[in-house]
């Protein structure tokens, strides 16, 4: 066997080993977190952890429902604000902007993905929180879901915008021409043909954005207030729900892990397991949707 043939075989095994190692790492992390959480699950009970609304390590109360609600609320808020913005960016870049404008806007949007999380948090603390504090509702500290949702919306923008842009660009040119040739306007072509045809890819982008939002930690700790309470409206106006402080699953771990011991520490690992599970579900559904999209494209 010649040298280059041997090299070919060797490289193949090295690459295979790299792939195996990354799988082992994922499994190891999952296993480790789960092992550390077993004490909490068995001693406190699955129901007590998942559905308990009181988190008070001092009196051994470890219900994480408030943090689940906090994570889901802030993610919902971020999607509500971020998706229209991201979709607008994606449509603008893929369908409307001339090449010169694209060359400026696209890197600018992508730059958002490169800004460290802590800088977002700083921006939220220094700019957004004081602004929100001006809303005159008793109990409004400025810290809370609204500030966190706005920060998170900007953070997930580049993820969703770039995947949605790819999805829109992947729509065959002949759909566009077919629509325009029938006397549809550009906007009608976008809303009636292009977006429906690129729907799966766009949804997958949104779901990946959700995954990113659920995992965000530092920026959330800095602006959400971190009260381990169920988020609730501050007044009779239901919109004041978003002025409520909250705590995310990620924040729960990051804030307390340094001093936690025993069952408290184990309960934090249980929080990690729940987070891990949520992320797996979210990523799997994005993957599934992208796969169905590929299938549809092949059918064309």
């Amino acid at each position: 066997m010649s040298g280059r043939m041997i090299a070919d075989k060797v490289v193949k095994y090295i690459l295979f080993a790299s792939a195996i190692i990354s799988i082992i790492i994922v499994l190891a992390i999952g296993f480790f977190i789960f092992r550390e959480s077993i004490e909490a699950w068995t001693e406190l009970g699955i129901g007590e952890i998942l559905f308990g609304t009181v988190w008070r390590p001092g009196i051994d109360q470890y219900g994480i429902l408030a943090m689940i609600a906090g994570s889901l609320s802030v993610t919902f808020g971020a999607i509500l604000l971020g998706v229209p913005l991201a979709l607008g960016c994606a449509i603008f870049l893929a369908e409307i902007a001339p090449a010169g404008v694209q060359a400026v806007v696209r890197p600018a949007v992508q730059l958002l993905a490169g800004i460290p999380s802590v800088v977002y948090g700083l921006f939220g603390m220094v700019i957004l929180v004081p602004l929100i504090r001006n809303i005159n509702v008793p109990g409004n500290s400025g810290y809370g879901l609204l500030a966190a949702s706005i920060v998170l919306a900007v953070m997930i923008l580049p993820t969703i915008a770039s995947i949605a842009e790819d999805a829109i660009r992947a729509v065959p040119e002949n759909y566009r021409h077919g629509s325009l040739a029938l006397g549809a306007t550009k906007w009608q072509t976008i809303t009636r043909v292009i977006l429906p045809a690129g729907k799966s890819g766009i949804i997958a982008g949104v779901i990946l954005g959700v995954g990113r939002a659920l995992g965000e930690t530092m920026a959330m700790i800095m602006v959400i207030g971190n009260s381990a309470i169920m988020p609730r409206p501050l007044s009779s106006n239901p919109l004041t729900f978003f002025l409520s402080q909250a705590r995310t699953l990620t924040g729960n771990i990051a804030v307390e892990i340094n001093y936690a011991t025993g069952i408290h520490e184990s309960a934090l690992f249980a929080t990690g397991v729940v987070l891990f599970g949520l992320i797996i579900v979210v990523n799997a559904s994005a993957r599934w949707i992208i796969r169905t999209q590929k299938y549809v494209e092949k059918a064309n």
């Binding site: 001339p98 325009l180 040739a181 029938l182 006397g183 549809a184 306007t185 009636r192 429906p196 045809a197």
Partner: protein, 255 residues
């Protein structure tokens, strides 16, 4: 010659600095089939797309001279309105990933028609005109992508008819179809010519001979600029061309 439907006067088209079409003057008669023939790259498809301003979509295209429809300058008409009057069928069938019904109803819907009964009428009438109704009437909810290539192309013709244009442009509509599907499209073109002005680009000389009342022969010069060599009744072009180059092309000496 009959009434003129489409006309170009000293029409030239440039892609940036490259001149793709030069000084084309032609009068395309109303409710007849006119074939544009010529070797690949002679600009006949570009010329076809001039009539519904699809070339506007390509960055860097500019034109000189005029293009008239019913005597009116098409560059003074809004392209959206123009394209409702000048339908187009593409080389490769391009159904939308929607049901057959929604494919046909698309054009009327974008112009604002919402009444479902009217839409049903239009869908049936258009599919009948495109000789597709009997094949699909029980499956209007089926995806347009599930039809065969020939059926897809007839659906695209029906889709164009649904907007009630007066002109239909066809860019090698049978190029991707088998001989039987091609024959059906040709029959259809023949039937439609009673009510529509049809301009068809074709590579296939026999096809031009079979379907077209008039034929325009395009050729490129040394600088690859497309020009109109000869335009006449198809019979004349095929049996007694005036230009030597037309004769050479028709008899298969090049192209």
């Amino acid at each position: 010659m009959k009434d003129t439907k489409l006309e170009t006067i000293n029409y030239s088209l440039y892609y940036g600095k490259f001149r793709a079409l030069k000084d084309i003057s032609i009068k395309i008669p109303k409710n007849k089939v006119t074939a544009l023939i010529g070797p690949s790259g002679c600009g006949k498809s570009t010329f076809l797309r001039s009539f519904n301003r699809m070339n506007d979509l390509i960055p860097g295209v500019h034109t000189e001279g005029s293009v008239l429809i019913d005597g009116e300058d098409i560059f003074k008409v809004d392209p959206v309105a123009l394209r409702q009057n000048v339908g187009m069928v593409f080389q490769k069938p391009n159904p939308f990933p929607k049901s057959i019904f929604e494919n046909i109803a698309y054009g009327p819907r974008v112009t604002g028609l919402k009444d479902h009964h009217k839409l049903e009428e239009i869908v049936e009438r258009s599919l009948r005109s495109a000789a597709l109704w009997d094949e699909v009437k029980d499956n209007l909810g089926k995806s347009g992508l599930d039809l065969s290539g020939g059926q897809q192309q007839r659906m695209c013709i029906a889709r164009a008819l649904a907007v009630e244009p007066t002109v239909i442009l066809m860019d090698e509509p049978a190029a991707s179809l088998d001989p039987i599907a091609t024959l059906k499209i040709e029959d259809l073109i023949h039937e439609l010519s009673a009510n529509y002005t049809i301009v068809i680009v074709t590579h296939n000389m026999q096809q031009a001979g079979r379907v077209a009342d008039f034929t325009a022969f395009f050729l490129t010069d040394e600088s690859r600029t497309g020009q109109l060599v000869e335009f006449n009744e198809t019979k004349t072009i095929f049996t007694n061309p005036r230009d030597r180059r037309t004769e050479d092309y028709i008899t298969g000496r090049f192209g």
